[in-house]
Amino acid sequence: MDLTVIQAAIPKFVAGFKLTLWMSFTGILGSLIVGLLCSLVQYFKVPVISKVFTGYVELARNTPLLIQLFFLYYAFPVIGWKMSAETCGFVGLTFLGGSYMAEAFSGGFAGIAPNQIDAGKAIGMNQFQLARYVVFPQGLSLSVPALAANVIFLIKETSIFSVIAIPELTNTALDLIGIYYRSNEYLLMLVIAYAIILIPLSIILTILERRVRYGSFGN
């Protein structure tokens, strides 16, 4: 282990670190939006669109991100659709993550006790009021654990972006290894970098989950 090697590589890792964070952030945000939209459409059984979304969820969930990225980055330009690597990464992560988030939200909505829905109806709520005051607030808190797991999962998935030449953390490490042949140092730095992102995040999410599980609604 050579400290000077590590020191010299820090700026590059910092750049990769920032990019990993940024790509994760945008991709997860996109996933949450897509997932919420999908799950709402599915919850209200909007005709036709809900079928289309179900198809999308199955397709995205059951194929590897790697292939999805290959398609976006290498195959689509052949038929004339060309996006930058970053856009491909964002679209790919959102495509995959949206389906995972949709499942998480749907799971939450489905987990609401039927007597809660009955109780809402019994005081005269209409569909929209039910969604707004019963399904949504309770479903969201029920889906928190699954959402949290997806957040971690999606951040890890950004490591695959190296195949489309996005210089995020994993790509940075592999590149440095290719140039300077210091696998021990660079892989160690890589592991540490992921740990710096994921350990605190995982702790925060666990606390959040526990909060929600013990139903500390409103306080």
């Binding site: 809402g120 109806k121 019994a122 005081i123 005269g124 709520m125 139903g215 609604f217 306080n219």
Partner: protein
């Protein structure tokens, strides 16, 4: 003759192909208390849930205050504001505190003035002796307290008819009394019209003006309250009453 609040004609209900309610006919007048009794699985819950559209009946008619209901979702939703219902499961919304649980219906559904609704809610809470719990969350309450608040939540909409489906069945025995007393007071002091499903035979005996005895989805008998418990008409009902005592 007092006003008829609700009437059911030839109500039939199927779950898939299985019929669970057969040609149910009955009506209830203003201020009356109707007890719905019968063995487990006889269709009591299904019937009472049909009355406010939580289950859709397969055929038959429902008249409310003399007017026939056209069973669209919109009409049901309007009707439900006039029919309060309390269930066996503690069904308060866990994400709202006691006051917000009570206010949700009046302010969001009926769009009443918030301050006025709040004043009214607090006076209802006073009546059941739970003003201290205005800001508490459901999980901080005992089962008996939750059920009393569920009753208040239904009352806050000023219903013309209240439905109670085994509201004490999940309660600790010592909690039962408090809840039943509220219901009794509602009938006696407020002259509230009510349909009650219960397994507390002593309670039913004290409160019911009339008893509808259900077995296997059929109304086996419809008898005056006092008479039913002393001398039920059908053998099945007498057997049932017997099994409820140890």
């Amino acid at each position: 003759m007092t006003k008829e609040i609700l009437r059911i004609e030839k109500l039939n209900k199927f779950y898939d192909k299985r019929q669970v309610l057969f040609n149910i006919d009955f009506s209830i007048k203003q201020g009356e208390v109707l007890a719905l009794l019968g063995p487990s699985g006889s269709g009591k819950s299904t019937l009472i849930r049909c009355l406010n559209g939580l289950e859709h009946f397969s055929s038959g008619n429902l008249f409310f205050a003399g007017k026939k209901l056209v069973p669209t979702e919109k009409n049901w939703q309007r009707l439900r504001q006039k029919i309060g219902m309390v269930f066996q499961s503690y069904d308060l919304f866990p994400n709202l505190n006691v006051l917000d649980n009570i206010l949700l219906g009046p302010t969001k559904v009926q769009k009443k003035n918030h301050d006025q609704a709040k004043q009214e809610a607090i006076s209802l809470l006073q009546r059941i002796g739970l003003t201290d719990y205005t800001a508490a969350y459901p999980r901080q309450l005992s089962g008996g307290q939750k059920q009393r608040i569920a009753i208040v939540r239904a009352l806050a909409l000023h219903p013309e008819l209240m439905l109670f489906d085994e509201v004490t069945a999940s309660l600790d025995p010592e909690m039962v009394r408090g809840v039943l007393e509220i219901i009794k007071e509602l009938s006696e002091k407020d002259n509230m019209t009510m349909i009650i499903v219960t397994h507390e035979m002593n309670f039913a005996e004290q409160i019911a003006d009339r008893v509808l005895f259900l077995d296997d989805g059929h109304v086996l008998e419809e008898t005056d309250g006092k008479q039913f418990f002393v001398n039920a008409q059908t053998k099945r009902a007498r057997e049932f009453l017997e099994s409820m005592k140890f």
